[in-house]
């Protein structure tokens, strides 16, 4: 177990470093600085701004300054971090620098404000995905071959086929405009999260449904399950004790990539529903050349996805000890 975690950690560090370096080089080497605007700044002003953010330093120096609290001679990096009480500590010290677009905030501030929002949205989507998916998968498996099964499978495949912003538009049309049950956009209460959660989670619910159905069908045809039913055990008990755990294992393994997908899909959904989460920050920061924020979000997502995958592996081993961590 310890070796597993250590190895994971090592790979994680390497991956993260690679992501940071590649992103850094890509961003800095591209034209269009963060200070361009229709109303141009006078030359000296812009030069002064660039100097302030150390954008006039050579690339390697900027890179080192960004990474860590390295003393680089008399002009030590002096970005502000956190509440401004320490000079910029660098990424290695957990400080992601000042945002270039939101001049009043550091990247840590922006992420701290927006991450809980995205997490909430993601959780609601996951609830929908797992809840709806498993439920429909069970029904489909139990009524296998029937019309309900066919209908649900059709719905599931459709859910995978439509882009999530189309689903979002349809959802808004149906449940916010035609029948004004939910708010059209915005954020601030659970009601605001229903439609976005649905739109975001729909494709994954579809996948989960298929996975559950497949897994469950296989288990239900096993002899020991048939015996249990024949012995007179109530069907729901059989389901709960025998069928579900085995059937849910593929769903669990799918949760890792599913959550990563939810993170990605949130880029579009957050835009449509005007939710101030981290997804919207990513797209805008890439377009605004807000280098530090862009990097910050990328780093954050790398960490999240990695951590989640590891967690999923750990949990699936815990649930089914037959799986060894070596294979995971």
């Amino acid at each position: 177990m310890r070796r597993f975690l250590l190895r994971r950690l090592a790979w994680f560090a390497l991956t993260l470093w690679a992501v940071v370096t590649v992103s850094f080089v890509l961003m800095r080497s591209v034209r269009g600085g963060p200070f361009s605007a229709e109303r141009s700044l006078p030359m000296e002003v812009e030069a002064s701004l660039r100097a302030r953010y150390h954008l006039d330093w050579p690339l390697w120096k900027q890179y080192l300054a960004y990474l860590g609290p390295l003393e680089l001679g008399p002009r030590a990096p002096t970005f502000l971090g956190g509440d401004g009480s320490d000079p910029f500590g660098g990424v290695l010290a957990g400080d992601l620098g000042p945002s270039y677009k939101y001049r009043d905030f550091t990247v840590n501030d922006v992420l701290a404000q927006s991450l809980p929002i995205s997490l909430a949205l993601g959780s609601v989507s996951l609830f929908f995905a797992v809840g709806l998916g498993v439920a429909s998968g069970i029904v489909s498996a139990l009524r296998r071959g029937g019309f309900l099964d066919f209908a649900l499978r059709l719905l599931a495949t459709l859910g995978i086929a439509l882009p999530n912003f189309v689903v979002a538009s349809l959802a808004i049309l149906l449940f916010a405009i035609t029948f004004p049950v939910f708010p059209v956009a915005g954020w601030g209460s659970l009601r605001h999260l229903v439609l976005p959660g649905l739109a975001l989670g729909a494709p994954f619910a579809a996948y989960v449904s298929r996975l559950t159905r497949t897994g469950l069908v296989e288990v239900l045809s096993q002899d020991y399950v048939r015996t249990a039913v024949a012995k007179g055990l109530p069907p729901w008990l059989v389901l709960w004790r025998h069928a579900l755990p085995a059937g849910c294992l593929p769903v669990l393994t799918y949760l890792g990539p599913a959550t990563a997908g939810i993170l990605t899909g949130s880029l579009v959904i957050e835009r449509i529903f005007a939710i101030p989460g981290t997804g919207s920050h990513f797209v805008n920061s890439a377009l605004n050349r807000d280098y530090t924020l862009c990097m910050g979000v990328t780093i954050l997502y790398t960490v999240l996805v990695y951590a989640l995958n590891t967690l999923v592996d750990l949990v699936s081993t815990w649930l089914d000890p037959r799986l060894s961590l070596e294979e995971a």
Binding site: R31, A161, P163, F165, I172, I177, A286, Y301
Partner: protein, 347 residues
């Protein structure tokens, strides 16, 4: 049906079977999968021959003040109004097809069976022409991921041992990078240098395709590697080795062709995700741009057509239906293929 199976068996006994033929036979029995195949083939044909079809221009602006509701075919089948100048930015082949169309149909074009969008562009034409980009994207991504992924996976699986280990570690590492973000970076980067790239004849679209392919090869590599590893010890491989074939020959002449069925299956299952990704990028404004049209752009228009004041239902329904139907068909076909190739997997 039973009689058919008997006949097939007799046929086999006479001719000898191969896994491919078995699979094809199983596929033929799956009605849904066959229906999907036919549908997709038809659609692909439509897309290919788009300039030949008597459709209105998908790109010419007719600044009507409102999107026009659909006129069903039984009300108005064809109308006049086609002009060659309404089509631009076409390649040589397309221009030829367009000329042919003019010869065949004169100035007739279909009426607005699917309605128009706010700038007067016929929706049916946009959907058909837009599918070309989506198919192109899928094809290009598929091909790139094919070449890179299959080669990589085959070499890893065949080499085994430490080389295999190292190669797969790289794949694992790349897997955990949130590629979507780097892809968006890359697209914005490429966007900036399009002047220079344009002079080299490279369009943003081409780079976009390559980028997609580079992201999608990872799973392909994994699948191929697993298959090659399994097949490595098979008899026919041993035979080839004994007869002195080089590693390269064994790999590419024997192993890879046997891996192909799985590769095809995987392709049909990931093409939908490529199309969705293209739509996603277009929605964010980083994909295709006018006068070209892609499903992503159409979907973007449709999401803007929904409002509290007024909704042009055809702008939402027809694009969703087309995208949905195509991707649905691809999924069903992929499932069918997988079942046909691996009949142990039921359900």
């Amino acid at each position: 049906m039973g009689f058919g199976i008997l006949m097939d068996r007799a046929d086999d006994a006479w001719r000898g079977t191969s896994p491919g033929r078995e699979a094809w036979r199983r596929l033929r029995r799956d009605r849904f999968a066959m229906a999907s195949l036919v549908f997709l083939a038809l659609f692909a044909l439509l897309a290919l021959c788009a300039p030949l079809l008597p459709l209105p221009s998908p790109m010419a602006l007719d600044l009507a003040l409102e999107p026009r509701a659909p006129t069903p075919p039984w009300e108005s089948f064809l109308e006049r109004g086609f002009q060659r100048e309404q089509f631009w930015s076409l390649g040589a082949l397309d221009r030829g097809l367009l000329a042919l169309r003019e010869r065949l149909f004169g100035d007739r074009q279909t009426a607005h069976w699917f309605g128009t969008d706010a700038k007067g562009r016929d929706l049916l034409a946009r959907i058909v022409w837009g599918s070309r980009i989506s198919f192109e994207a899928a094809l290009a991504a598929g091909l790139v991921s094919l070449f890179v992924g299959v080669t990589y996976g085959a070499i890893a699986g065949y080499a085994g041992g430490r080389i295999d280990n190292a190669m797969m570690r790289l794949v694992d590492a790349l897997y955990s990078i949130p590629f979507i973000f780097l892809v968006i970076f890359l697209v914005t980067v490429v966007n900036e240098y399009r002047g220079e790239l344009g002079r080299l004849g490279i369009e943003r679209l081409h780079v976009f395709f390559v980028v997609i392919g580079l992201v999608w090869w990872l799973t392909m590599a994994r699948i191929v590697r697993a298959q090659v590893r399994a097949l490595k010890e098979a008899d026919f491989v041993q035979a080839a080795r004994v007869s002195g074939a080089s590693h390269a020959r064994i790999l590419f002449a024997h192993l890879v062709p046997n891996v192909f069925p799985m590769v095809i299956v995987y392709l049909t299952l990931t093409i939908p995700s490529v199309m969705l990704f293209e739509a996603f990028l277009s929605f964010l404004g980083l994909g295709v741009e006018p006068p070209q049209v892609s499903w992503g752009l159409i979907a973007l228009d449709s999401s803007e057509a929904i409002g509290v004041l007024h909704t042009s239902w055809w702008l939402v329904f027809f694009p969703s239906a087309s995208i949905g139907a195509t991707l649905f068909a691809l999924n069903v076909l992929g499932d069918g293929l997988r079942d046909a190739l691996d009949p142990r997997r039921r359900g």
